[in-house]
């Protein structure tokens, strides 16, 4: 499968470890993610008011790139695209849905984007995790050369991958897609109800204390159930759950640091693709001591 890939801003900066590992893991599964030319920021959040179209223009412009790639044969999928960041996924899928379901909005946005070709309204926005699920997790197991035996992972889903219902890729009340993936990689799964609790998202900018509380709850609940590390697919969750552990430790003296993996880093590790493809050095809490203690590095 050769599919247009939308990276978004974080994947080129704070979440390079997500991009590097996901591209390598996808390639191993026969998914070639072709970065779209001239992509722009998706806007990170989807405007929720009925009369606000301006904030969807950025996302729709990216969908035009997908349409062009489908037409010029640079990919072998038709009107499909893949994302890695949960926020990009949610924002672009929501924008695609809005213009697909509201013909009048599509006309307005197309006439506003005067210098762009008209968007046809047909692009399907996918997250890499759902492409992998649809291929079958047995295909994942077949590529594992280094099973993650003994590693206790608490999958964390957050918000933008699973909510709202019509956008999310899994059951919004009890998501399991991460658990199924990590099980296929040989890891032990630790379930806990905080897997779908918001990390506080952009409150980290102006209301850091709230994020510290939420992140502390999410991490310690995973630990209480026996989790040794958690996973995410969102660069903003990763910042709040990983980097903010510095502040959590200052506030809660008993708190023990816990590695936060991107789902794709666990894939490259289990596929035996080497440390360069895992890019663990970019994680805030270094996961390598834990992995060494499990003989996984």
């Amino acid at each position: 499968m050769k599919i247009p890939y939308y990276p978004g801003c974080s994947l080129k900066t704070s979440a390079k470890n997500l991009e590097v590992s996901a591209l390598a893991a996808a390639e191993k599964l026969g998914i070639e993610m072709v970065e779209m030319p001239r992509w722009n920021c998706c806007g990170t959040v989807f405007s929720l008011t009925s009369d606000d179209l301006m904030h969807h223009v950025a996302s729709v412009r990216n969908l035009v790139r997908v349409q062009e790639m489908s037409e010029n044969g640079s990919v072998d999928t038709t009107n499909k695209m893949v994302t890695l960041c949960s926020m990009c996924f949610n924002t672009m899928k929501s924008a695609a849905k809005r213009v697909r379901e509201n013909a009048e909005d599509l006309v307005k946005i197309n006439s506003f984007m005067d210098t762009e070709p008209d968007y046809n309204g047909n692009v399907q926005v996918l997250h890499l995790l759902e492409i992998i699920r649809d291929m079958g997790f047995d295909k994942v197991s077949a590529k594992v050369t280094r099973p993650l035996e003994g590693l206790k992972i608490a999958p964390y889903y957050g918000c933008m991958l699973i909510r709202p219902k019509e956008i999310g890729i899994d059951d919004p009340e009890d998501p399991t897609i991460g658990a199924q993936l990590f099980k296929a990689l040989g890891a032990e799964i630790v379930d806990n109800p905080f897997k779908k609790v918001c990390c506080g998202a952009y409150h980290t900018v102006h209301n850091k204390d709230t994020v510290i509380e939420l992140a502390h709850d999410i991490l310690t609940h995973a630990q209480e159930e026996g989790g040794e590390a958690i996973s995410t697919s969102c660069p903003l969750c990763a910042f709040n759950l990983d980097n903010r552990q510095k502040e959590i430790k200052e506030k809660y003296l008993k708190f023990k640091e816990m590695p936060v993996f991107y789902f794709s880093q666990l894939m490259t590790l289990a596929f035996g693709l080497g440390e360069d493809a895992c890019m663990f050095e970019a994680n805030y809490v270094d996961p390598r001591p834990l992995l060494k203690s499990k003989n996984l590095l």
């Binding site: 009925s50 960041c85 918001c198 506080g200 998202a201 952009y202 910042f239």
Partner: protein, 134 residues
């Protein structure tokens, strides 16, 4: 929160405006409170999400001055739980927009400490400024 009040034309106009902006029919809310029970940020709020819905039903414009509407992070937990199929996160957004469209920003770039600006990823900054400034 007012419970037995006379609904004025101004109250009705406020309700209509929020219905229109949010695309939700707020009067459909039955006040079961599941949104408040599930909200991960309710402890930070001065009005619960259910109170927000009730105040909009009554056309009580004070809700647009509440802390609640800025604390809501649009995580959609209430959205997936509402048994009436309502989306309180859209109502909170409509109430934020009422303020932002009067050029009243909730956050100011100048108030973010320099050491935080050095570590905050752009995904955090872009989303915060799109949600909380006009």
């Amino acid at each position: 929160m007012p419970t037995n009040t006379v609904i004025t034309a101004a109250n009705e106009a406020f309700l209509r405006r929020i219905n229109e902006l949010s695309g939700e029919k707020v009067t459909r809310c039955e006040q079961c409170g599941i949104c408040s029970a599930g909200c991960p940020l309710v402890a930070e709020m001065d009005r619960t999400p259910a109170e927000m819905m009730r105040m909009v039903q009554l056309g009580d414009e004070d809700i647009a001055k509440s802390k609640t509407i800025w604390i809501c992070a649009s995580c959609f937990t209430c959205t997936v739980k509402c048994p009436r199929g309502l989306d309180p996160s859209k109502v909170a957004e409509a109430l934020r927009q009422l303020n932002l469209r009067k050029a009243v920003d909730y956050i100011d770039l100048m108030n973010i400490p320099k050491e935080e600006m050095e570590i905050l990823p752009q995904i955090a900054l872009v989303s915060a400024f799109r949600k909380l400034t006009g």
